[in-house]
């Protein structure tokens, strides 16, 4: 368990979202305490990315259902949230050095030295173009940049999509390497088995609703089931 003095970093109260007539999120309420790693699981189309987009401000939250560090989503919350989207947010012609410059200029909490060190550790050259790298390497770069910020809340949307098991392990290591005790992480993924060991709480989303929300430790104490078993039980 990370973090001793818990306080709420993220709070969602009766959060809903519709795409036209289709309901993507239906009256969702949950909170994340500081220092916790929360796994967000669910099949495709369950509303994981929509929920994350609401939290990071890519989708409008007129009712101010989301509060980060006690504040509604806006400039202030964006400064303390480090977000990695479900796809690459950089154009192929961008060099890694450009991305480092970009993060350094735009985020006061970006630790460039750390990012460069981790990149070098992964054998990634700064003068390489994103477009010439493999999908796995690009994912790694995106995670390295996002995790090199000293943010209060990290939000990673499908950070393991399309990368091999070895790279997945590396990404998990990078994720945890730079996280302070007080920082929280919301991780959306389909890879339950690989992430079960690092997750404190799990949220299962189904058709825009939370169908399961429990601490992993609590769940293990109650029954000897793994998180994967619980997932299979809910979604099978």
């Amino acid at each position: 368990m990370r973090g001793e003095n818990m306080s709420i970093i993220l709070e969602c109260n009766n959060l809903s979202h519709k795409y036209g007539k289709k309901t993507a999120l239906d009256d969702i309420s949950f909170s994340i305490e500081t220092g916790k790693v929360v796994g967000l699981f669910g099949p495709n189309g369950s509303g994981k990315t929509t929920l994350i987009k609401k939290i990071v401000g890519l989708l409008l939250d007129d009712k101010q259902s989301v509060k980060i560090d006690g504040k509604p989503v806006g400039e202030t919350t964006k400064a303390i949230v480090s977000y990695s989207p479900d796809r690459l947010a950089f154009k192929g012609n961008r060099k890694i050095s450009y991305l480092l410059d970009f993060y350094e200029l735009m985020y006061d909490d970006f630790d460039r030295a750390h990012a460069e060190e981790v990149l070098a550790g992964q054998g990634i050259q700064k003068d390489e173009c994103i477009g010439k790298l493999s999908k796995g390497t690009c994912e790694k770069i995106q995670i390295i940049l996002v995790m090199s910020r000293k943010a209060k809340l990290y939000i990673l949307d499908e950070p393991f999509s399309g990368i091999d098991p070895v790279a997945r392990e590396t990404v998990i290591r990078i994720m945890l390497q730079n996280m302070s005790e007080e920082a929280s992480l919301l991780l959306s993924t389909h890879h339950i088995q690989e992430t079960e060991q690092i997750i404190d709480d799990a949220i299962f989303l189904k058709e825009g609703k939370i169908v399961f929300q429990k601490s992993v430790e609590e769940m293990r104490e109650e029954s000897s089931r793994s998180l994967n078993d619980a997932y299979m039980e809910v979604f099978r």
């Binding site: 401000g57 409008l60 950089f90």
Partner: protein
Amino acid sequence: MKNKLMKLEIRENRKLIFFILSYMAVLSVVTGIVASIAEKFSLPAATELAVVLSLCAMMGILLIAIVMAGRFYSLLFTEEGLLRLTLPVKNRDHLQINVKLGIITLYVSVIIYSTMMGSIDSENTAFGLYGVMKEYYGNFVTEYVGMKAFATTICIILAIAAVIANYYITFIFVLTLSRYIVSRYSVVQKKGVIFIAGITLFNIHLLMMWAITNLIEEIEADLSHFQLYGFPPAENATFMDFLRYNPEGEWVKDVIFAGMYIIVYGITAVIMYRTVRSILDRKLEV
């Protein structure tokens, strides 16, 4: 943070802007030289070539508008939007910075173009904005030096500035509005659809502006028909009487004419800008 964003935009665009401005400067010089040769030796072919070169140089202005507006679209409405729109700034700041940079670059390009054209061949008034200005206002400035000439020149410059700003904001406006309409009504978000919607909106805007400009020209034509006549008693004199009586009234007409341009193009630019700002702040979802 806004300053940092501006710094980033300048850093990203400086090479491209420098390239386009250099292209315009070089082409303007070549046009000036060709035009002066054509005039000196009375070569019709060289004159035609100068016209073509002049148009090519002018295309740089359009190119800058397209490139800058295209950047606005690609930074906010494509994958990069996921990164840009989660920066700790307001969505409207992206618009403000792009519009500022775009318009300033356009002004610089127009100044470079007209200055190069005019300065290469001071006798040649056939090409470029500088030439046109000089031809039209040369006598005027000589005859009516002082505040009247200054006021007229300032008004004309402001009118040109308003037109340029209006056209740049139109690019941003049509891109944002077509993107919004396309996503709002769940049309497949293909660049082609947005492009067609954008072109349609742009043409509607052009037609509207054309109609308004025609109206302004009609008013100007009506003003030119006034004959000079005796001045009525001061207590009964209207503004139009002052205008009619004053033999130097031409400059007032020009100021009014330029003022109409500033008002029409300025107001429509502000309306379009505020609409885009409102879409970005209250309706944009990526």
